[in-house]
Every structure is written in C-alpha cells, then in structure tokens.
C-alpha cells in the first residue's frame, strides 16, 4: 500500500499537545450534541454548521488542508481535495481511503471521550482501551520500568500518527503516573446553504444516517460543485441554488469550477464584461438575458462544451478598458464565433486545468490603434504571410485559408483568438504577443520595420525565448535584432557538436553579461546598440576554436567597454562591475561587497578557471608562437588549469552506463580534466601545436562566462551551485545529451533529477530566462518551516526570480518612503471607508479591478464596521493597497491628501519629488518580471487579478500574478530604517524565508503567500531573522 502523493497538499503537522490540551479553536462548538448539523452562533443565523469528527487540526492533516485555513474554508477545501486527489481513472485513491478510515477512527476515539469531550487516561487500566484504539501496545507491559508504546496494529497506528494524536504525551503521562487528558471534540464548520441541500442533491446513497462529510467523501461530482460555488459571491450562489436546484447544476460543475469564479450577480443581474452596453450581445450569445441570472449562468456553462464560459471568464479578468475594446460593436460575437469554432469537438472542461490561458493573455496584451482597430506589428500583409507559413491546427488553418484576401486587422484578431485554443510555443498567437510587446516597449517612434517583423517571425520557432531581450531593452534597434539573429544562426550552424556548444555558450554568456549591465543601467542607453552589436557580431562565421576564443574575448570587451570605459578588465574588476554600480555610502559599499563576494563564492565552488588565467595563457601562447614571450610565467597558469578535479567517483563507468544510460556523460568536463598545456609550453611546441593549445582554452572560457551568469543569479540558499562543481560545466547548450532535443535556444530545463548515478542534475537549453531555471534547481533546498508543508513548485521559482532579477541601486530615499506611503494611504482609505458610504463605493469600485467577486464581497462586508475593517486589513495585499492609493489619487486628485497622515505626507512627497515617486517609477522599481503575461522581463506592476493555474507554458502565470512582495519588503525596509540599497540583500533572503513559511492547501492559495510574507516581516522586525550584512548596515 502506498500513500497518495500530495503535491501542493501540505499535510500540516501540529504542535504536540501534552497532557492538558486546550480546545483547538475558539470557534469550535465543543460539540456536546450529535455529529449532525447545528445552528451557528450569534451573528450568523443564516449560516448552518456541520460537524467534523475529531479536532479540526487532525482532520486537516488527513485531508491535506493547511493548518492556517479558516473554518469557513474547511468544507470547500475538503471538496476540492477529494474531487481532485480522491479519484484516479475511476478508482479511489489511497488519499481518500485513508481519509475515510480516519473519519471512522475519529468516531471510535470520540466514543472514549467524556461529556466535556476529553479523552482521559489516568492509569494503565484506563489507558488500555485507548491504546488499543490507537493501534499501539506497551512493551513491556504498561506500568513496568521503561515501558514504551509500540505498534500493535499498523493501520490504526498510522492513522493515529498521521492525524497527530499525541502518542508521546500519552506515553510520557503513563510512565510518570500523571493523568493524561486530551480534548477530542467534534468540530463545527460552516456549510454553504443547508446541509440537506447537498445531501439531497447527491447521487450517493447510504443506509442509515448520512452527514454532509460522509457525502463529500463519496461523491466527486458534488464535491466539484461545492468547490466551484464556494468561489462565488453570496448572491450569485443563491441565484444558482434557487434557479433550478443544486442537483441540476451537477453536470455544470466542471465549467463552474474552471470558469465560474468571475461570474457575479448583483441586484438580480449578471455583471457582464464590457458593462451594461454589452448585455444585449451577451444575451444573444448565451440565449438568456443577464437579467435572468440563473438561466444566464446555466446556459452559458452548458453552451459549446464550456467554451462560452471560458470566453466569459477570460474577458472578465482583463481591465475594463480592454473589455470595452473587446466587446465593442460586433466584436464580442465575432470573436466568440471563431473561438467556439476553433474549440469545436473538444471540451473546455476536460483535464484538471482551465484551457483559456492563451485567450486571457491575448486579451490582456491586445493593443489598439487610435481608431479602435487592433494594433498590428508590421503590416497586415506580413501577417498574411506569417499565418500562411506557420503550422497551426487544421481548424485554424481552415480559418486563415482566405487570409490573402483579408483587408482588416479584425480578421487577424479573429485568427489569433482561434489560435488561442491550441497551445503552442510558436503559434501565430505567440508571435503576435511577442512582437507587439516589443513594439509596445519601443513606442510609436520606434516600431519594428516590416522586414524585421518578417525576420523575427521566420526565426520565431527557434529563437523566440531570446526576443524578450528586445522587449526589455527597447533601445535595441532593428539592426541589433538582425545581427543577433545572424549570430545565433551562425553558431547554430556549426557542424561540430562540441564547437557548437562552446560557441552557443560563449555567445549566450556574453549576452547575459550585457543584459545584467544594461539592466543595472551601467551601459548607457546611447551605447546599447553599439555595444550589443559588438557582443553578437564577432560570432558570425566563427567555426574553429581559436577564432571562437578571440570572438568571445572581443564580445566581452564590447560589453565591458560600454559599461566601464575600459575593455580589458581583470576578473575581479568584472565581478565588481556585475555586483552593481559603484557605491559611495557605507551601506552601498557593504551591499556591493557582499554581492561581489557571493559571485566569487559560486565561481570558486564551481572551480572555474579565472579569466585572468585564460587570457594570460592565451596571450603567452600566442607570443610563443610568434617567437617571443617567456614560457616560465605560463607554467603555473597552465598548472592551474589542472587544479580542477572531478568529484570522486562512487560508481564505476560500467555502473554509470548501466544505471544512468540516458544521462549526460560530462564529455565537456572530462575533456577539460585531460587538458594539459604544460608539455607544449615546456617543449616548446611548434606554432601549430601552440595554436591548438590556445584553442583548448575555449571551453574553459565558455564555462567561466556562463559561470558568471549563474553566479549573478544565484538564488538565496542555493546548494547545487555550491556543492555540485560540475553544474555550470554540464550545461548542455547543443542538446546532445538527449536524443532529438530540439529546443536548444529555449528556456533551459533541469534534467537528471532523481537519477542517482547520473552525476547530478544539469540544465539543457539556452541561458534565456536563466534566473527561473536556477530557481527551479534550487527551490527544493528551502526547508519548509511547517512540518508537512512542501515548497510550492508552481509559485516558488517565480517568487525567487522576483527577488533575484531586479536590483535596487537607483532607488532614492523618497521613492522608498513613497512605496510605504502608498500602502499606508491605501489602508487609510479602507479604514475611512467604514464611515463614509460614498468613499466606500469608490474604494470597492477601484478594488474591483483587482479582486475576484467573492473577495470583493468580503471586503465590502468588512468595510461596514471599523473593527471588521481592521481585522480584515491583513488580508488586503500590498499590491491592492498600492493600487487603491494610486488609482484614488489619479481619479480624485483633489482629495489626495485628505484621508490621513500618510495621504498627506504622500501628497507632500509627490509635490517635492514628482518623478521619484511617480507610480510609473515605483512600478518599474518594485514590480516584477512578467515573461508569460507581458512577454518581457522588464519589471512592472501590471495590476492583474490573481490568475489560476494553467497547464504547460502558462504554468508561470500563477507566480506572475503575485506582485506584492517587493512592495511589502520596500515598506518594511523603510519602516525599519534600512536604506534602499540594502534591498539588494534583504529581498532575496526575506523571500527565501517567506517561501519556507508558505503553508498552502492548493495551487491558488494566494492568501498563504500573503500570510507567509507578513509572518516573515513580523519575524524580521522582532529580530528573529538574522542577516549578517544587513545587520551591519543597520548598526552603522
């Protein structure tokens, strides 16, 4: 028997409850009555309660629910977990089997509890039954010296342990002859509607009493509906229930779960994307009026295998401005028509993820001409070619067959919408999104030429991951784009796999260094094109080792010259440059030194040869080949090449071949180990031999340049970078280690995980989006603080990237303070809204841009009373507070300073430092990269509602829609008196602590991140997190 896998499902541990236990939760009823439904206490007369057997914390452990979940979340999360993890190809999983067993186990234990719900064992005799129920026995007999509990019945003992029964406390009490008492109440939790609404809707039948929990443990369809409706606001839920009853909604549960959370009924009417003006159009699409909300929602979910619901959901998630564009005139219906047709034959609700991610991204990114028509990078003619040449599914091909006769951008938009039904890295949709992002960043004056659009589209399949450089650095012109593609194609065409790999690594390593220095604004905008072209151009036409070495060196010099004015820098000087702009203040210097030291540390642990050694050897060999130069100084340099040793082998070559046949053979590294230039120097060799010796330095040069990139993006708490000295060297640029691997220019993938004889995991692919790949490699070395919590793999890498890719060298004290003031002003507005109906309306109107309907409803309710608002405040994210303040200042400038001290101070600061505290500036400095949502690594706060988890490439959207961390850390630093420059040290480490504290139940559990962030902040304030360098700065 195997335990179910519980990815995402942190089965939380609980702290041991010694002899005297406190009731688990204040809201627990104590449960003196039967395990049936009871009415909730005062203030919640409408809310029914149902009984969970045993303490909630035990049930949560068994059900895979975070210990931090609230009682209101209990049944929805149970329903969610059972429907998702409880069944597999029609069979029940071990997860569900164990959960059911636990319910019976808890009922058995309840039989032992007294009227006060406590289980007592004052002596061995009293303990006998309890010990038996728990599946244990004493060895030797209870009461004898050194008697301990050991397993008697493994199945029951497992339930006792897994649910967190205090076995050690019982054992200890009996050994010491002290009374044991353990509170074991049934726990009351709220239920949506009434319990009987659900039990009567279920198709599961059972003899005897049937509680809602019993039903939930047996009816997957019902669970899915329960989970879906829990995400709606109250009025919407009621409308759905009253419309035709829960039973009739069961078939619609999948559509409601994936696409129903944005549906909101207010005042008896469905709020449709695009506003009231579009209601007629929606009525025609759906076949029911928004004014008949029950009918409208049912029809929408039932139509076209869920595609209409998916369309409604995608439109609902974008800004109101985009909604107006996308629903104006006949566009609403036309776009849906092609979307529906493209999805024909498939279901939008199959699988475990929503299928409208690409449509959502398109709707979010779509740009418009001043006349309201869709913006097109290049021209329509170019797009006719692109569409006719690119592979796409048959349905889309049919749609674009007549593209040559198109005369309107609308037709392109429709084809893109159709294309969004089919996930592909290089579809016309992806080309459009990427090119329009570049054009958007460039602005009207610098649009891509038609020729460049054509070129970029033609090479998109191979090089698209690198196009994000051009949206991040819009100063790079069309010539720079073209030269990059020429260089990339040139090195891709090198026939020798080893040479090709070295060339690709060297080119990408140098581009990576250029990006770092450009992002840190050390390369002035005026020098960007020349330096970029100097980086890529030398690689064109290179096909031998010595020219490649020289091209790589020239390429590096171009970057260094642009950044420092000096092209020939030592490795130490390069590291100083990468560590950030030169600093004058103590804090700045300390921060800079710390970052430089970390880069050195990675290079040392990767045992990479210094650039100084490589260039010194290369020049010395060159001089010897030309009859000059001394050989003696070269001997120690050549010897240092041989300092690198492979890790001591555990496996023989034969064992490795047998046990890890598909894994990289480290040929590149082994060649380096065998490299010995001392002989050719001492002989001395002929000019040809010396030339060959120079060529042997090229792989070393590649590795050091790649290593500098790895070191710069080191995630906090990294272990692979410090303990696997082959990690950088093993990077497989040409994809030779996996047969048929074709995505060599794509974002790298971590391979070799869990292959014990494989020599360790390594990256395959390019250096594009390297920070994300490194974060993926290192995230599992963060030790979760909550016992059964696991690192959240959907969000963890993105959260780490948010902390390591941006740097904060250019943030002024005023700007840092403003980041805090915006958030505090948001709080002031929220608090003041409790006593001001007009303000409350404005506040909720602004927040509706970011909040889902259910959460908006909760916020509105909390804003009715100051005490509720104060209690609810920690649940408002920093990004929401920031947005609220910024929008309010924009919409009501005359009231900007009237809501409290922070509002007034912010207004003063904004007047005296308008550019430093502008929203755009703060967005750039405290935002995060959105490579999937916005097709750029440029940082920004884009103000998007929390996005659900999608499959495939769109998985990253989960993390990208979290924009609060850096705002929060900035406020924390400001309030604790840290200078802005120290954010470069604080944010990575605090983010690591935050990730360790996340205690989430499911992959959309955003409140878990918010809680973890606030817990981290509180701990840091109290001195519980010690960061040596930051402390030094703080003490200075």
């Amino acid at each position: 028997m195997k335990l179910p896998r519980r990815p995402w499902t942190p089965i939380p541990a609980f702290l041991f409850c010694l002899s005297v236990c406190i009731p688990a939760h204040a809201w627990s009823s104590g449960g003196t009555g039967p395990d049936g439904d009871v009415a909730h206490g005062a203030g919640s007369a409408a809310m029914q309660m149902v009984s969970i057997p045993g303490p909630l914390r035990s049930f949560m452990r068994m059900a895979g629910i975070s210990q931090e979940a609230t009682p209101e979340e209990m049944l929805p999360l149970l329903a969610r977990n059972v429907s998702l993890h409880g069944y597999q190809v029609g069979s029940e999983t071990e997860y569900l089997v164990l959960l059911r067993r636990y319910v019976q186990f808890a009922q058995d234990l309840r039989q032992l509890a007294d009227a006060q719900n406590a289980i007592h064992a004052d002596n061995c005799e009293q303990a006998a039954k309890l010990v038996e129920v728990l599946g244990y026995q004493f060895d030797p007999a209870c009461g004898e010296k050194n008697a301990y509990l050991v397993t008697a019945n493994a199945e029951r003992a497992f339930l006792a342990i897994d649910s967190g029964f205090p076995i050690t406390g019982l054992e200890d009490a009996l050994q010491k002859h002290t009374p044991f008492a353990y509170s074991f109440p049934a726990t009351q939790v709220p239920v949506l509607f009434r319990s009987q609404d659900w039990t009567s809707a279920s198709i599961w039948r059972h003899k005897g009493d049937m509680t809602l929990v019993d039903v939930m443990l047996h009816d997957q369809e019902l669970d899915r509906l329960y989970w879906a409706l829990s995400k709606n606001d109250e009025e919407t839920r009621l409308v759905l229930r009253q419309s035709r009853g829960l039973k009739s909604l069961l078939p619609l549960a999948p559509a409601l779960e994936f696409y129903g959370s944005q549906v909101s009924v207010r005042a008896g009417r469905v709020l449709v994307p695009g506003g009231p003006d579009t209601e007629k159009g929606w009525e025609e699409l759906v076949g029911a009026s928004p004014n008949s909300p029950g009918e409208f929602i049912e029809h929408m979910c039932a139509r076209d295998h869920g595609w209409l619901a998916a369309y409604f959901d995608a439109l609902s998630r974008v800004s109101r401005e985009q909604q107006v564009h996308l629903t104006s005139g006949s566009r609403l219906k036309q776009l849906y028509d092609v979307y529906r047709r493209a999805g024909n034959g498939f279901s939008a609700t199959r699988g475990v993820f929503p299928r409208n991610a690409d449509l959502l991204v398109l709707f979010n990114r779509m740009q418009w001409q001043p006349d309201g028509s869709p913006y097109i990078p290049g021209s329509l003619n170019e797009w006719k070619e692109i569409l006719s040449q690119n592979y796409s599914p048959k349905l889309v091909r049919d749609w674009v067959r007549d593209a040559r006769s198109w005369d309107s951008p609308e037709q392109l938009l429709m084809s893109l919408v159709a294309s969004s039904c089919f996930t592909s890295d290089d579809s016309p949709l992806q080309i459009y999104l990427t090119l329009s992002a570049i054009d958007h960043a460039r602005g009207p004056e610098g649009r891509l030429s038609e020729a460049t659009v054509r070129l970029l589209a033609a090479r998109f399949a191979e090089f698209h991951s690198w196009y994000l450089v051009f949206s991040e650095f819009p100063a790079l012109n069309d010539t720079s784009v073209t030269q990059f593609l020429n260089a990339a194609e040139s090195v891709s065409g090198i026939s020798s796999p080893a040479m090709r790999s070295n060339a690709m690594g060297a080119l990408q390593g140098n581009i990576g260094l250029w990006e770092i220095l450009a992002r840190q604004q050390q390369i002035p905008e005026a020098k960007m094109n020349a330096s970029w072209q100097g980086v890529v151009q030398p690689f064109v036409g290179v096909s031998a080792s010595v020219p490649l070495f020289e091209a790589t060196r020239a390429s590096l010099r171009s970057t260094l010259g642009a950044a420092s004015g000096e092209a020939n820098l030592s490795q130490d000087q390069i590291i100083e440059l990468l560590a950030g702009p030169a600093q004058q203040s103590f804090a700045g210097r300390r921060t800079h030194d710390e970052i430089a030291q970390r880069i050195r540390s990675v290079l040392d642990d990767q045992r990479l040869v210094s650039l100084d050694t490589l260039f010194g050897l290369y020049d010395g060999l060159d001089q010897m080949a030309h009859g000059s130069g001394e050989k003696d100084p070269l001997i120690p340099l050549a010897a240092s090449l041989r300092e690198f040793e492979m890790p001591r082998a555990i496996f023989s070559p034969g064992e490795k071949a047998a046990w890890a046949p598909a894994i990289y053979t480290s040929r590149h590294t082994e060649l380096q180990v065998r490299t010995d230039l001392t002989r050719v120097i001492q002989s001395p060799g002929s000019p040809a031999q010396l030339e060959a010796a120079r060529g042997q330095l090229t792989p070393f040069l590649r590795d050091t340049l790649v290593g500098l990139n790895y070191a710069y993006y080191e995630p906090p708490g990294a272990q692979v970078l410090h303990n696997n000295p082959l990690f950088v060297r093993s990077h497989d640029f040409s994809g030779t280690s996996i047969l048929g691997y074709g995505q060599v220019w794509d974002t790298p993938t971590l391979v070799g995980i869990g292959v014990t004889a494989g020599g360790g995991a390594y990256l395959i692919g390019s250096l594009a989006n390297l920070p994300y790949a490194l974060a993926t490699a290192e995230e599992d070395f963060i030790a979760p603080e909550n016992v059964q919590a696991l690192i959240w793999q959907a969000a963890g890498p993105a959260l780490l990237v948010d902390a390591i890719e941006p740097r904060w060298w250019d943030v002024s004290p005023a700007e840092l303070h403003a980041a805090a003031l915006y958030q505090r002003m948001g709080e002031e507005l929220l608090m003041d809204a409790t006593g001001n109906a007009e303000l409350r309306g404005r506040v909720t109107e602004v927040l509706s841009d970011l909040m889902m309907p259910r959460r908006l409803e909760m916020t509105e309710q909390a804003l009715q009373r100051p005490a509720d608002a104060a209690a609810f405040m920690p649940q408002i994210t920093p990004a929401e507070k920031f947005y609220l303040a910024a929008e309010y200042r924009r919409l009501y400038p005359e009231q900007a300073a009237t809501w409290g001290a922070a509002s007034k101070e912010l207004d003063d600061v904004a007047r005296s430092n308008p550019s430093e505290v502008s929203v755009a500036r703060l967005s750039k400095d405290f935002g995060v990269p959105h490579p999937t949502l916005e097709q750029t690594n440029a940082c920004a706060i884009v103000n998007v509602k929390p996005l659900p988890a999608f499959s495939g490439e769109d998985y990253g959207l989960v993390g990208e829609s979290w924009e609060s961390s850096n705002l929060y850390w900035a406020r924390l630093a400001d309030e604790m008196g840290y200078p802005a420059v120290s954010l470069n040290l604080l944010i990575p480490e605090l983010s690591r602590h935050m990730i360790a504290k996340i205690f989430a139940t499911d992959i959309e559990d955003w409140p878990a991140i918010l809680r973890a962030m606030e817990q981290t902040g509180d701990e840091f304030r109290k001195g519980g997190i010690h960061l040596a360098a930051a402390s030094t700065i703080a003490q200075h």
Partner: protein
C-alpha cells in the same frame, strides 16, 4: 581575496598562513590559502568479527595524508573527554587500570585482545554502552517520510524511538525528516522528549530527495565540533534529488561527518541505492545496513549506537601540503599484533571554501540556533 579553510576542523586554531602566489595575466593573484586548522578523524577499530577493540593508545596509530606522515595532536577514546597528547600520555599511565574496567562497562582492550560477544554473534553488544562513551556525540537522525514509507512507517518510528531512547545520555540529537524537502522537525537538543515528539509528528507523503536533504543535514552538522554523525533511515531509491551522492559524500568527508544508513530494503532489491549506501557510509567512516523487517531495523540502530560509543577521535595538524584538491588520509595500526585488526575512518577530504556567514546562516538555521 579568497580564503580556504578546512571546514569541519576545530575553528580558531589557525596554525599558519601560507601565501601561494600565482601569476596571472593581470599580475599576482590575490588568493590566500589558510593552511590549516586541525583535521579530526573518528576511527573504529574492529576484529574480524566486527567486535570493537578498545584501549588503544596514540602510538598505536600511524596517520598520513597524501603519504605525508602526520603527528597526532589529540587523542580520545569513546566518549572520554578529548585531550592533548600530553593528556593522553598522562592517561596512558593510568591505563594500567584494567581495560574493560567499570568505566567502560566491559569493553575490552587491545592488550587483552578479546572481543565483545554479541547476542547474535555480529559484534553487537547486548546492552547499551556506558554513558561516558556516548557523551560528546551529536547525532542527526534523518527519516524518510516519502510515499515509499507507508507500509513500515509506524514500525520505523518505533525503531527510531528505541534508538533515541538508547542514546539517553549521549550529547545531542536532532531529528529531521525528508520527502521532497527537508523538515528540521527537532533541532539538535539534549531534550529527548522533544526529539520523540519530532519523531511522532512526522507525516508521510511525496517524493524522496534523499541526497538533497542529506546534503543540507551534512551542512548543519558541519558547523559542529566533535564527533558528529548522521543516521539515515531510508526506505527506497531517491527520485527527486538534484545533487549527486558523490558531492554529498565529499562534503561529509571534508567536514568529518560520519554517515550511517539503514535501508528498509534488501540490497539486491535496489542495486543503485545499495551501492551508494555502502560506499558513501564506508567513505565517511560509517556503515550501511539493509533491514528486511523492523527487528532488523532495531538491530541496526543498536549497532550504530555501539559504533558511536567505540570511536577513537584522533586529530592532527596537516604538514605543509601543496595539494589543493582531494587529500587522501590513511590510518594504520602500528605493531604486528595489531595488524590483524581493521580500521575504519573517512578516507580523505577536500579543501572547502569558507562559507560566507550569511549563506551559512541561511542553510544552517537549526544548528545555528543550538550550535554546540
């Protein structure tokens, strides 16, 4: 400037600083190598039955590093207080006290060259070793809670519980568990109840990243002085690690951390893991056990407890050695009458760069909270 220290050695005992200039294209290197502190070895001496040989003296050992003979700086047997050679010389005079006297609860001396008999003839003593022999050791228990563990989960907990209780008077114990991630359930502590609570609070689930989590545990242990050991309780192959076992073994060797591994699968069930377990534990001076049921698990724990109680701790200051890579250590017994015995200790170490303070703090919170 770059510093290399021998991590895992007694810090604060820097003996000499040797600058090794290396010419580069930019001029003299700024590298400085700190050479060295103290190398500490935990050495088990057994006869052909696996029974421990006690009562040996410093002069009975010959230690070399890369074939360079080294002078023993300190010597300790079992859990006795560590002393300098001078102390050892003083103690030697009192060794006249019959070996196997009350102080060591019946362990036997080389002079007597008798062996302990175990209940099962495997060299495992039938009763817990004496207090003094276990004192001073820091032991990390690393428990596999991945989804492989369901069948024997509770029995494994019982076995670990028995081990923890049997170490009642040992110095400190930490209890960690792992699946895909490491959980530092109970940081290093003398409080056995806290450790037991940690053991009983584990919950099963998810993948097994043994080598990742063992690496983190070794790094925690690396910050400690004295004898330190990790006892891994594994129930299946690793399927989620990104670091290879080679790197973990090297770090353990370089930091003087002994690794014992108990596998709940028989060696032939899973040859890759079995090979790693045997070789990694041997390379660090520990042992691997393959238990077919919970009784075997308990026996394995008893054997580990015995092993820890019978280790000699020998330290030396390495003589000048230009090798900056792997350094091979050899420990031999001196004298014909001792040649028949087997010596088990780590077989070398690699120079470790000093970990920046912030990084160390980052990955060693448990140990940092309770370092000694």
């Amino acid at each position: 400037m770059r510093f290399f220290l021998f991590v895992g050695l007694c810090s604060g005992l820097v003996a000499a600083v040797a600058s090794l200039p290396a010419m580069t294209a930019q001029g003299p290197s700024s590298r400085i190598f700190v050479n060295v502190v103290l190398v500490q070895l935990n050495v088990a001496v057994t006869d052909h039955n696996g029974s421990y040989i006690t009562g040996l003296r410093p002069e009975n050992f010959a230690v070399s590093e890369d074939k360079i003979p080294e002078k023993i700086a300190s010597f300790e047997e079992g859990g006795a207080p560590e002393g300098s050679i001078r102390d050892a010389e003083m103690a030697k005079k009192s060794v006249a006290a019959p070996a196997g006297s009350a102080a060591d609860g019946g362990a036997q001396t080389a002079a007597q060259a008798t062996t302990q008999a175990s209940e099962e003839g495997s060299g495992i003593a039938s009763s817990p070793p004496p207090v003094s022999r276990l004192a001073g050791a820091s032991v990390y228990v690393l428990f596999d809670t991945s989804d492989y563990m369901y069948r024997g989960f509770v029995f494994a907990q019982d076995a670990i519980g028995g081990f923890v209780r049997s170490m009642e008077e040992a110095n400190k114990i930490a209890f960690y568990s792992y699946s895909r991630n490491l959980s530092r359930a109970t940081p290093l502590t003398t409080d056995r109840t806290a450790v037991m609570q940690g053991v009983r609070s584990t919950v099963a689930g998810d993948d097994a990243a043994l080598y990742n989590c063992l690496l983190l545990t070794v790094r925690d242990a690396a910050q400690l002085r004295g004898r330190k050991a990790i006892v891994v309780f594994s129930n299946g192959p690793d399927n989620a690690s990104s670091v290879p076992p080679e790197d973990v073994e090297e770090l353990a060797q370089s930091t003087g951390t002994i690794i014992y591994i108990i596998s709940t699968r028989l060696a032939h069930d899973e040859p890759v893991s079995s090979a790693v377990f045997e070789r990694m534990s041997k390379g660090t001076g520990g042992k691997a056990y393959f238990a077919k049921d919970w009784r075997d698990e308990s026996t394995a724990f008893a054997s580990i407890r015995e092993d820890l109680a019978h280790l000699y701790t020998i330290s030396y200051y390495p003589k000048l050695n230009p090798n900056r890579g792997w350094r091979t250590i050899s420990v031999k017994l001196v004298g014909k009458e001792l040649e028949k015995y087997r010596v088990r200790t780590r077989d070398g170490y690699r120079l470790q760069e000093q970990v920046p303070a912030t990084t160390q703090a980052a990955d060693g919170e448990a140990a940092a909270a309770d370092p000694h």
